[in-house]
Amino acid sequence: MKKPSIKAQPKREAEILAACERTRQACNKLTDEERRELRQRALAIIYGHDAKISARSR
């Protein structure tokens, strides 16, 4: 992604913070089990991507 110009940054920052607020409001309602499942999938994606990058650089 192209780095935004300094002028465009406050607007982009506001959009990001607004999306984070929507996410947080939705996630506040999750059960413990749903939170655990989300975290496990997040970790699988993070480490899966990491392994792909490592394999490519070998």
Partner: protein, 168 residues
Amino acid sequence: MQKSPLVAVDTNFPLLLAAGDNAALDALDVVRNRVRPVEILVPPTVQGELLHQAENERDAVQRALARKALLQLRSRRRFHPADLNSAQEAVAREAARKTLLAGLLPAAEINDAIIVAESAVLNAILLVSNDSHLLAVDHRRLGLLFRELDLPVPLIVSPREIAQKFYR
């Protein structure tokens, strides 16, 4: 061997970095240069929120940014996705419950409270966040509350504050 100081990040920070936000990039630069050798942690709830946003956010641009931020956590940023054992999870849950009960955060802000509590359980000295509720927390009262649970209290700072105060 001396342990690395630990710094935790809130969900908005990896997103701002992925978007190329100057204040966030400067703040990361400051943290990496001033707190050596630093280990930057992504609390479990933050990992979950990033994925939730990547999958469920209504704005497609933002969904793509969240996915990018998630994928960059380790490969590009060298952040460490933290995990808690069941005992740590229980302490974090109790600390979050007490934080909300004490009125240090609005009662509905469950994830805010959990992220602060997870950062404390992970022994983070700083929590980097742009969240208005988190930045408004009374640090002294939070410290007193966490002391009862034998937990350290991380200093909650915005990327801009880090860059302005320490970028000299």
